[in-house]
């Protein structure tokens, strides 16, 4: 179908008018963007998850709090009415440096001060090792063989027995000639009594055997009382590579709830007698200031021993704010419990994952970080809670936050005979719970991210495909018809097999195009069919007239017969022009190989001479380019086209008017313009002027089927040219411009 191939070659441009353009692209969101925005709505899910986890956290914390309260109250009721437990006399001195949970060993029989070191070592139970590592008293050049202490302590009926096994490479005794007491190897003992009084005793020896004991001032240089004390008895026995010290301290001296601390001072140089290093039984001198009195009741400690709660610290206090028993620690034993394994050398992927997890940890506030914020000592706050509980007699619960660390503190009073005897205080870290929650959140987040990425990708792919298909359908639909509404394609193949709505739409459009195409073809064939059908009756009329004339010679000049013949002549010419377009299309399809090179200029010149002689009533003028205009085509058809252009110019031009045929070179094209001076084009046919059966004539005497310019279009398109009509400036006259590609390189 020729007319279905030529695209926009024929375009009529009325005065300054703009041909109806392609569908405008409106600004706004495209399907893909919309769908992706929809995907963004999925972000509500992690928010919801986060919120619900938060809710869960609140709920769990409340539960934990309640459980802790119950535990506290349980403990306090167990301890209720047990005044004996809080009896100040029951308390034992606390030895700083020993774990509170392991109580002092008790011995039935008092140890003889002269008993061998082995018996003492066996009697005081397992010795605790103290070394100088990590202590600030010992410099970085600390050597274990220079000084190391093994120390044991036992509680007798009347006395406290302390035993030391000290490694020392050089044993320096006190020089009797020197006044100072501290310029030799010595043991310092500090006692903080129940009433806060601090007593400092220096134990030193001039020779193996009995130690001299002096009460010292705070600087450990000056003696309070010049006399050596007799209550405290100690001996020093040299051993290989060191010495052993046995000390017996009367319990009366300590009183009740005293604190005891030993320091072993080592001096190695007999001349300078400077203190080399000090080892203390208190591992961290800063953490337990003297003044915060702790008085452990062994009974109480035994009672609460089984009540161990993980990550909780249970303390039992008496009215005087002294710790009577303590179990557990808020800080979990190993940080590994939180999965804080140090990063190993890992693959890139693993590192990326670690980075992601670290990022998540930052976003989701990993409780593992919170642990670092947990204070080592929160006794000040504890005191406040205790004060409230002891004053009001009501259980009290509070939740504390130290940075990211969460602590639940509950306290409950212990009643005895209607009086508040003391209080139980439990501190538990909420971070373990949060760690669990955090793990959940982390897993959920990773899962969600995966789902989100997957969904986004899927929707992106889907929407891209959808957009592509819609775009393709749009392109195909736009290409199916020219801007003048001429059908170029009668079906859309791409995407028509798809089973979804878009495929169905494609099929609908395709079938619509198909029907339109059939209708168009029917319309295009109509003139031909009509002509064919008219031929037979016309032939009947014609042959009958001829027979009539033959049989009745006298009628030859009859005016009616003449008119009938004229009518037949007109009918014939109508029928001829009707078939001309159809037969031209058929002929052109066969003339594709008959193209030849010829001079358009001389052809036009010859033709115009012929037109002028055939139409003496008009002035037909050729204004041609001076040079030859070679084109590649079928000269007969070009001449036929020229016939139609001239016919058209005559039909629509002014009576006896001027017709100008102009030919000029314009770039790669030759522009042939046929101008008349008739009325301008009616705008309503401007777009369809070159379609079949379109004519502006309303004159009944003239037969114009509107096929002339259609033939012009067919021939032009066959020669790969374009044709347009436009009104001339000045209100009258129409230019029909045929643009044909010129032959280049010849």
């Amino acid at each position: 179908m020729n007319s279905l191939v030529g695209s926009r070659s024929a375009k009529a441009l009325p005065d300054g008018g703009v041909a109806p353009g392609a569908p405008q692209i409106r600004p706004g969101l495209k399907i893909r963007t919309k769908l992706l925005l929809l995907v963004l709505l999925l972000l509500v899910i992690p928010w919801m998850g986060y919120e619900s986890v938060r809710e869960m956290e609140k709920f769990l914390l409340a539960g934990q709090e309640q459980a802790l309260e119950l535990t506290t109250q349980g403990i306090s009721s167990i301890l209720g009415n047990r005044t004996d437990l809080f009896d100040p006399g029951v308390g034992v001195p606390e030895i700083i440096g020993r774990p509170l949970t392991s109580l002092l060993g008790e011995i039935e029989e008092p140890l003889a001060i002269d008993a061998p070191a082995e018996i003492w070592a066996a009697s005081v139970g397992p010795l605790t090792h103290f070394s100088g590592f990590g202590l600030f008293e010992c410099g970085p050049e600390y050597r274990p063989e220079s000084l190391a202490v093994r120390h044991g302590l036992a509680l007798g009926p009347d006395s406290v027995f302390a035993f030391f096994e000290i490694d020392d490479d050089v044993l320096v005794f006190r020089d009797p000639t020197l006044l100072s007491l501290d310029a030799n190897d010595q043991i310092r003992m500090t006692i903080q009594r129940n009433n806060g009084e601090i007593l400092r005793y220096l134990l030193t020896a001039q020779a193996p055997g009995r130690l001299s004991v002096y009460l010292m001032r705070a600087n450990w240089k000056d003696v309070v009382d010049g006399e050596a004390l007799r209550e405290i008895v100690g001996t020093l026995d040299p051993l290989t590579g060191g010495f052993a010290v046995k000390v017996r301290i009367p319990r009366d001296l300590l009183g009740v709830g005293a604190r005891l601390k030993f320091e072993v001072v080592d001096i190695d140089d007999r001349n300078t007698r400077e203190i080399e290093q000090i080892i203390s039984t208190e591992p961290d001198p800063g953490s337990h200031e003297f003044g915060s009195v702790r008085l452990v009741t062994p009974e109480l400690a035994k009672l609460i021993q089984p009540l161990y709660i993980s990550e909780a610290n249970i303390t039992v206090w008496d009215r005087s704010y002294r710790v009577r028993a303590q179990v557990g620690s808020v800080v979990p034993p190993a940080r590994e419990a939180f999965g804080m394994t140090p990063p190993e050398k890992a693959s890139l992927l693993k590192r990326a994952e670690d980075q992601l997890i670290r990022f998540l940890g930052w976003i989701l506030r990993s409780p593992a970080r919170g642990l670092a914020d947990m204070p080592a000592d929160s006794s000040a706050e504890d005191q406040r809670v205790l004060a409230r509980v002891l004053a009001e007699g009501e259980p009290s619960t509070e939740r504390r936050r130290y940075g990211d660390a969460k602590l639940i503190v509950t306290a409950s009073p212990i009643w005895a005979q209607g009086e508040i005897e003391g209080a139980v205080l439990i501190k538990q870290s909420a971070n373990k719970l949060l760690a669990l929650q955090y793990k959940t959140l982390q897993r959920f987040t990773i899962l969600f991210l995966a789902v989100f990425v997957f969904l986004s990708l899927a929707i992106l792919i889907f929407s891209t495909r959808l957009t592509y298909r819609v775009g393709r359908l749009q392109r195909e639909t736009e290409q199916a018809a020219s801007s003048e509404g001429r059908l170029l394609k009668d079906r859309i193949r791409a995407g028509a097999r798809s089973s979804d709505e878009l495929g169905s739409l494609t099929r609908s459009i395709s079938s619509m195009l198909h029907n339109l195409g059939q209708y168009t073809r029917y319309l295009e064939r109509l003139p031909d069919t009509l002509a064919h059908e008219l031929h037979n009756p016309l032939n009947v009329v014609n042959s009958s007239l001829e027979n009539l004339q033959y049989n009745h010679r006298e009628l030859t000049d009859d005016k009616h017969l003449q008119r009938a013949r004229n009518g037949i002549g007109r009918l014939r010419s109508i029928i001829t022009s009707l078939t001309e377009a159809a037969s031209l299309k058929e002929a052109l399809s066969q003339e594709q190989e008959q193209l030849e090179r010829f001079d358009l200029r001389s052809l036009i010149q010859n033709c115009v001479e012929g037109y002028q002689s055939a139409n003496p009533g008009y002035r037909i003028v050729a204004t041609l380019a001076p040079t030859s205009a070679w084109i590649f085509g079928v000269p007969d058809r070009i001449a036929q086209m020229l016939d139609k252009l001239i016919d058209n110019a005559i039909a629509f031009g002014a009576q006896n008017g001027l017709i100008i045929v102009n030919l000029r070179h314009g770039g790669d094209n030759l522009e042939l313009t046929v101008s008349n001076d008739g009325p301008t084009l009616p705008p309503e046919i401007a777009d369809s002027l070159f379609d079949p059966m379109v004519s502006s004539t309303r004159d009944a005497r003239k037969t114009h089927l509107g096929l002339g310019l259609y033939i012009v279009r067919l021939v032009t398109e066959f020669h790969k040219g374009t044709v347009a009509a436009r009104n001339r400036r000045g209100g009258t006259g129409v230019d029909v411009v045929v643009s044909l590609p010129t032959l280049t390189g010849q």
Partner: protein, 233 residues
């Protein structure tokens, strides 16, 4: 013995109009409305000339079928197609069946009679020996007016009557332009459009080119007509 002319035409009015005019000119006419009746009649008796419509009622190509039958019965019988169908395909088909002429409706009865005369005369000539003295030579072209035979470089060119008349007209005055109007008269069809003349010329050129691909003697004078180019050698 009167010359018998067979007319096969489905339209009664036309058939009778043809019959009337031919009988008025002294021919004996056998008219048939459809293919079967014509076929039976042709088996029994061959006419001297046949005038066939192509479309016979529902029978789209009935005329072609009859033409083949007649050609089988007689290789030299003049056959004229008289039809409303004016396509190149139909013309080529008729040529392949060696019909002598192809006229499209509406036809002038006057010219129809003239053609019938001419074809009968040529038919007679062919039955006797072709007479060389009637040959007219223009360069490599030999035209025998009596027997409607055209030779180009001693090869016969198979032309219809109308085409023959055009060649005869062009070659009579070589080098002179025959205008469209002049050629229109030559075709003896009444009013003939330029485009129809162009069609005849195109078909004639094609037939010569089948014999001699370099054939270029028929020159177009655009907007005016055609001329026969004289040999230069």
């Amino acid at each position: 013995m009167a010359t018998i002319i067979a007319i096969v035409e489905d339209d009664t009015d036309q058939r009778e109009n043809y019959s009337d005019v031919l009988m008025a000119h002294g021919y004996e006419v056998r008219a048939y409305p459809d293919r079967p009746s014509a076929q039976i009649a042709f088996e029994r008796e061959l006419p001297d000339l046949a005038l066939l419509d192509i479309m016979l009622g529902e029978d789209m190509d009935g005329g072609f079928d009859l033409c083949m039958q007649l050609r089988n019965l007689s290789p030299t019988l003049p056959i004229i197609f008289l039809t409303a169908r004016d396509s190149d395909a139909d013309r080529i088909s008729s040529q392949r069946m060696t019909a002598w002429d192809y006229i499209t409706k509406p036809v002038s009865l006057e010219f129809l009679v003239a053609r019938v005369h001419a074809l009968l005369r040529i038919s007679e000539q062919l039955q006797s020996q072709p007479e060389p003295e009637h040959n007219v030579s223009v360069g490599s072209l030999v035209v025998n007016e009596k027997s409607m035979l055209v030779h180009w470089k001693e090869n016969p060119v198979n032309l219809t009557l109308t085409e023959f008349w055009i060649i005869e007209s062009l070659s009579r005055n070589p080098g002179h332009v025959k205008t469209y109007d002049a050629l229109s008269d030559v075709t003896r069809q009444g009013l003939v459009e330029r485009n129809t003349i162009n069609g005849y010329i195109r078909r004639i050129r094609n037939k010569f080119r089948e014999i001699d691909p370099a054939f270029d003697r028929i020159q177009t004078v655009h907007g005016t007509g055609y001329k026969w180019e004289q040999d230069h050698g």
